[in-house]
Structures are given as C-alpha cells and as structure tokens.
C-alpha cells in the first residue's frame, strides 16, 4: 500500500512541472490564439540557463536565485521572440504560426548543443531539500514534496492574478474578443507581449525546477511538448484549471501505467486523450471553439485544371526527368529517387492540407506505416516486391482510417495537435515493440528485387509512381469529390446545408492522403534497404509541411516544386554543415515571415497580376464572393 502511495506522490511531483509548462501554453493560446510550439524549447532553455546559474553561484541563495533569474532571463528572450517574430504573424493562418514556432524549436535545439555541448548535464540538488522522508519503509525525496506543494500554490497565484487584477480582467476579456478590447482603448500589443512573457516564464520555471530531478539534455523539448499538448488537449486549451487537472491525470497515468501495463505505458496516455476527445472534443474544462479562421487552402484565385499547353509542358518536364539516367551517375540517381519519393509524400500532405484544409502535424506516421508494412511483408512473409509495394501502403491506409476517424472530428489547432499525438503513438509502438519492429535497431535488409535493383531502374520506378500519384490526386481535386471536399474546407456550415456529409468527406480525404503517404514510405524502405522509427518521427512530418509551404499552400500542385527544392537543398545542406537544424529552422521561420505564398504561389500571383493588367478583366465576381463572408 505504502508503495502505491509513494508512486502516487511521485506522480504528483512530476505533475507540478508539467502544469507550469501547460498553463503557460494555455494562457498564451487563450489570448494570442497561437499554439506555441516553441514552448518546449523555452522549457529546455530554462533548464540549461538554471543549470549554468546554479553551478556558478553557490549556496541556497545561489540555487533558488539562479532558478528564478533563469526563468526571468528566458522570459526576456520570449519577449524578444514575440516582438520580432510573432507580431508579424498574428493574423496568419494557424499553420504558419505552428510552423514558425517549430522552426524556432529546431534552432534552439542546435543552439543549446553549441553552447552547452551534446552531453547530459546533471544539476545540483536543491539546498534544504536534499534528503528523503521515510514513509512506512518507502523513501520520498523531500524535493518531491516541495513540488507537490508548489503546483497548487502556483495555481492559486495565477487564479488571483486573473480574477483580482485589472491586467487579469483585460487578459480574460482579450481571450474572448481581442478586437473589442482594442476598441475599448487597450493597447493589444503590450497585452500580448506581457501574456507571452508570463507564459514563457512559467515554461522556463518548469524546466529550471526539473534540474534536481532529471538530467538536462537537448532532447527534452520535444518530449515535454508532446506531453504538454496531451495535457492541454485533455484539460481544454485556454483553461488553467484544466491544465492542472490534466497534468495530474497524465502524470499519474505515467506513474501507474508503468507498473500496471509496462508494455504500453507510452500509449496509455494517448488512449485516454483519444477517449476525452471523443466525449468532449474541446477538453474537460475547455469551451467549444468558434469555427477556425481562414483555413490554409482558402484562395482568392479560383483553381482550374491545366490547359492543353500546360499539360504538354508537364509531360515535357517528365520526359526530361526520365532521361536523367542517360547522363547522370548512380549517386545522382539515388538522390533523384529520394526526391521523387518525397514528391509523393509531399503531394499527399498537400492534398489533405490545401484541398482538405486539414493541416496534419503527424503525416509521417502513414509514411512510416507504409515503410514498416513493406519491411514486415518482405522480411516475415517473404512476399515478392510487387506484392509488397501494393500491400505495404495498406498499413498506412489502415492507420489513416483509424486515426483519421478521430482526427476529423476536430479542426484547426486541435486537429494539428491530435495528428501529432497519433504520430507519436505510432512512433512509440515502433520504438517499444522490439520483438516485431526491432525497436531502435529497425528492420534491415529490405532490398528491391533484381528488376528494380539498379539505380536507374529504381529511379524510373519512383518517378513513374510519383507522376501517377500527382496525376491521380489532381484528377480527384477536380472531381465531384474534390469539389465537395473544397466546399467543406471553405465553409463547413454551407456545405452541410447543401447536403454534404463533411466529416465523411474529410475522413475519406485523410485515408487517401494516408495511403499515398504509405506508398511513398514503401518505396523509401526499398530505397534505403531498411526502416527505422525515425521514418515516422516528428521531424519528417515537419519536413513534409515545409515542402508544402515552400511550394505554396494555395496552389493545386505546388508541393511538387516544394518537395524537389526542399529535398535537394536538404541533402546538400546536411553534407555541408553540422548545424543543419539551425539553418533549417531559420529557413522555416524565414519562409513563413517573408515568403508565405511559396514558390509556385508567388509565381502564380505574378502571372495573375500580369494577365489582369493586360486584359483588365474586372474583379467583380471575386469581390462579391469576398463581401459575402
């Protein structure tokens, strides 16, 4: 019995830090409507800075002072980020905000390695809380007891701040209607900045307080951000009480899950989250959200199929690409195959995002499922390659059918967070289920058969499938199904009013996108000859998002160009620098801020303007559509 109580208390102690970080994320989202992906990075920075300060200054004053100063210093960095970066993108679609803050996360990950080195750092114990208390023969670290008390204290302070101060009243008002707050004479800019500073302060404090319990390392940001997403989704975005209850719930699930179901401890939390989302999609303490703002794919220039000339041009480009093996060597052909595979992957996400208006942050899950599908079929069942290529993606289809069913019940940031969480489940399974997936060691020796083994043959195979995927997806865009999907994207209410079953249409789109991504993964497994859990990791999901963004969200097939440019740049970059995350993160932030239309989108806008000025066509029709909103 005593053992279980101690386990319970350990869970409560872990909940304290989680609550600090989650409440910060919730407060920031409430007012600015930005889901701050970089929140984990601020948590990690808090831990690193506190480590340095507490090592440098001795004594109790040095320790506690170091922790508070670290949180304040990171909050100051947060203010800088808000003023320089976020102020430019408050009115952008959610996707851009998520991506920009994710780019920031990537940069911070490399920066901390640059400054503090790649090794784990073990911090000091807290002065005054070094010992343990005996509880019926079980030891409870006294620092844990301190944290258990701290959680509710912080909750109480935040409650007072929001209920009893003018600042708190303004923040709560802005959470509901920020334009009205401005129309009453309140300067939103500083309100947003102060809210962001408070949120980052809480995250950094959460990180700093972890140093007596855990080693500081450069991967703690992603670990915590996934947990925090789960907490805020369960508790309800924007609710501080919700963050507290959900933090306790998640921490206890972790503490007991490892005792009761050691095999599935990682996915237990996600299962609970899925249940909560089905019963209350806005979380236990959240409120139903107003429909999302402008979805990413919404566009003023209507889409149209290619003209005959454009079709001929596309075929010409394909013929030129197919001629590559006659001039290029094996290395270039392998790179070419990889690019073709990522074209398939990117267009599948583009289909879901731009046509379906659903920005998935976990699309790599279906890519990885396709890859694992092939690897398992080839290694365990020993099926021939053609059969594997046809059946492997079915695992992606299956995953998309199951997860997609839940995911399309939500929209906007909730959709993004849920897809990310699902991808983490799939990743965890691949990582933990060693007997089947080989865990971290992956599955090796998945080689193509003789007819496809040579680089040129494999290149043609990849190119052919990529061309097929692009054409099929384009046909779907301009099919009745595609119209219904776009109608649902642009106005869920109106499309429902004309009899479209929006959820089912979106679910179908999700399954199509997942299957095509699975196909890309299947080819990828053969290209590399192996599969690893990283084939479904977050960074791969983000790669896909960047490709789509780079090509142009508002275009029909911009992802093709985005994938080619991005993948080529990426392969080149990794060979050139050790700090690829830093460069990549900076690149992501730069496109979001300076280049939000992407390559193809910018070109289209340019051509559109030229056509308009030459023919002087009146924009009456589009303006009518705009005013109708």
């Amino acid at each position: 019995m005593a053992f279980y109580i101690v386990q319970f208390l350990t869970g409560l102690a872990s909940a304290a830090s989680l609550f600090l970080v989650a409440s910060g994320l919730s407060i920031i989202f409430g007012v600015t409507r930005i889901v701050n992906f970089a929140h984990g990075a601020f948590y990690m920075l808090g831990a690193y800075v506190a480590f340095t300060l507490t090592e440098r200054f001795s004594g109790a004053f040095g320790f506690w002072g170091g922790i508070v100063v670290a949180a304040l210093a990171v909050a100051a960095i947060g203010v800088l980020v808000e003023m320089v970066l976020l102020r430019r993108i408050y009115h952008s679609p959610e996707l851009f905000q998520l991506l920009a803050t994710f780019g920031l996360t990537l940069m911070v990950e490399d920066l901390v390695v640059l400054i503090w080195g790649p090794d784990d750092l073990v911090g000091r114990r807290a002065p005054g809380f070094k010992g343990a208390i005996d509880f019926f023969g079980q030891n409870i670290p006294s620092y844990d007891l301190f944290l258990i008390v701290l959680g509710p204290v912080v909750l109480g302070v935040l409650w007072l701040l929001f209920q009893r101060t003018r600042w708190g009243v303004l923040v709560r008002a802005a959470t509901q209607d920020r334009d009205m707050v401005a129309a009453l004479g309140v300067n939103q800019k500083w309100l947003f900045t102060s809210v962001f500073a408070l949120g980052v302060f809480l995250a950094a404090l959460g990180g700093a307080l972890q140093i007596p319990r855990d080693a500081v390392n450069h991967a703690m940001d992603l670990r915590v951000i996934v947990e925090v997403f789960v907490v805020v989704v369960i508790g309800g975005l924007g609710s501080i009480i919700g963050a507290f209850v959900a933090a306790v719930l998640v921490s206890e699930l972790n503490a007991f899950g490892i005792l009761i179901f050691p095999k599935i401890s990682i996915i237990l939390v996600f299962l609970v989250m899925a249940v909560v989302l089905i019963v209350r999609p806005w979380g236990l303490f959240g409120k139903p959200e107003a429909p999302a703002r402008r979805t990413p794919g919404l566009t003023v220039n209507p889409w149209r199929p290619l003209t005959m000339n454009e079709r001929l041009a596309a075929i010409a480009v394909l013929v030129v690409a197919a001629a590559l093996p006659f001039v290029a060597g094996n290395y270039v052909l392998t790179v070419g195959s990889e690019i073709a595979i990522f074209v398939i992957f990117a267009v599948s996400l583009h289909f879901l995002m731009s046509v379906g208006g659903l920005a998935s942050f976990g699309h790599a899950a279906y890519f990885g499922l396709g890859a694992y599908g092939v690897a398992l079929l080839a290694k365990m069942a020993g099926l021939p390659m053609i059969a594997c290529l046809l059946l492997g993606p079915l695992l992606g289809l299956l995953g998309a059918a199951v997860f997609g069913f839940f995911a399309v019940q939500l929209s906007g940031v909730y959709f993004a967070m849920l897809t990310l969480a699902f991808a983490q489940i799939v990743w965890s399974i691949a990582f933990q289920w060693v007997s089947v997936t080989g865990g971290d060691n992956g599955i090796l020796g998945v080689w193509p058969e003789k007819w496809a083994a040579s680089p040129s043959h494999f290149y043609w195979l990849s190119l052919g499938i990529a061309a097929l995927a692009v054409v099929i997806l384009r046909i779907i865009v301009f099919s009745p199904f595609g119209f219904a999907l776009r109608a649902t994207r642009d106005s869920p209410l109106r499309s429902e009013a004309v009899g479209i079953n929006g959820k089912r249409i979106q679910w179908t789109a999700f399954v199509i996108a997942g299957t095509v991504a699975g196909l890309a993964g299947a080819l990828f497994a053969y290209l590399k000859g192996s599969v690893f859990p990283d084939n479904m990791g977050i960074s791969l999901s983000v790669d896909a998002l960047v490709m789509v963004l780079l090509g142009g969200v508002e275009t029909v097939s911009g992802a093709v160009v985005g994938a080619i440019v991005y993948k080529a740049l990426n392969i080149w970059l990794v060979s050139q620098t050790d700090w690829s995350k830093l460069v990549l993160g900076g690149f992501v932030v730069l496109i979001v801020v300076a280049f939000p239309k992407g390559i193809v989108g910018t070109l289209e806008a340019f051509l559109h303007r030229r056509r308009k000025s030459s023919s002087a066509a009146s924009p009456v029709l589009t303006s009518r559509i705009e005013t109708a909103e």
């Binding site: 003018r166 008002a173 509901q176 009453l184 005013t627």
Partner: protein
Amino acid sequence: MKLTVKDLNSFYGPAHILFDIALEVGEGEVVALLGRNGAGKSTTFRSIVGLVENRSGRVMFEGRDVSELPTHAIVRGGLGYVPEERRIFTDLTVEENLEVGRQPKRPGAPQWDRDKLFKLFPNLGEMRGRPGGRMSGGEQQMLTIARTLMGNPSLVLLDEPSEGLSPKIVEQMVDAILAMKKEGVSIVVSEQNLHFARLISDRAYIIERGRICFGGTMAELDARPDIRDAHLSL
C-alpha cells in the same frame, strides 16, 4: 467641429465599400446616420475607429488627424465606439466588463464611473456580479454603452442601439441617449428606424450603397419626403 470625416473610402479585400464619405459632428450634437441594411453604416463607424484596415481619407477628431492611428489610440483619445453586435465579454461579470472599458479621466470630457452609470442604467446596478452571457439582449445593449462610457469619451459612435429591442427597452434607450447628450457627450447614432432617430437627433445623414446622399437637419429631412421614401424603408 468635434468630428470631421472627409473623402473616406473603404475596402474589404478587392471590394470597394465606402465612396468619399463626408460627415461633420458639432460639439454636443446628436447626429443620425440613416440607411438600409448593408448601406455601409457599420463600415463607416468601423473605418472611423480604424477597425477596417484598408481605408483612405481623413478623420479629424477634436482638430487632430487620427486616421493613421491604431484603434486603441483613437479610442483613448476620447472617441468611443459601441459596436452593433454588442460584443459583451460573456465570461466576465457586469463589473468586470465595465473595468475593461475604464480609462483615465480626460480633461474637458464628461466623466463617468460605476455608480453614475448604475444610476443611468438601473438594471445593471442590480446585476453587478452576473456574467455578461446570462443577460437579456436589452441588458447587454445597456452594458455595451455603459462599458464604452467608462472610457470617458467626448464623442460616441453608437451602432444601431435600438436593433432587436422591445419597445419598452427602446424607450429606456432614448432616455439614456438624451441623458448622455445632456452630460455633454457628442453622439453619432446609426439607425434604420427613422422614428427612433427623430426622438434623439439634431441632424441626419442618409447613406445608400456606400455614399452619403443627404445631409441636413431633421426638419429639412421631413421637408423632403421623396428622399426619405427613396432611401429609407419605413
């Protein structure tokens, strides 16, 4: 002049909504902006306080050009705005809603505080702790006006204050607006209801399809039934 608007043009996306709007409001005057649904009344107000991003023209308030200022700065200068959709903070109590609107005292402008407003709107005084979401439409309308008055404005833009209210509440609204006028607040009130406008206004403008097509005293408007019938639905 308290407020002078000149050559105001506004756009939503590529659509041109307001065309060369010109308005004048004198010190302590109540001016009605009349027009049908969709004529551009709300857009005019939103453009004056800077809530429409794409606009051009000049807005002079108390002799100062405010057309380049952000919304909060315009409002802080003493130009209050009461939106059409009320936009009460539903999670906040009556007193908290008023707190959001509170601004420092402004020399030369009529001054308001909670107690004075509760006298003007007695209903609100009886429900100080009630969340805005649990009030009737009429009470919410009172609260939006009170909330804007907490900023001690010298001029208020009132967007369709009588819309959707019962006749009895409309009567109270007339009294409240006349009381505001007596305190010295200049008011521009947008209306579809000529009868309501007549009870409170000194002068009127008529707006139709984004253009001002009449401006004059209420007596001048009454002398032109042709204009009234062409541009207002009665």
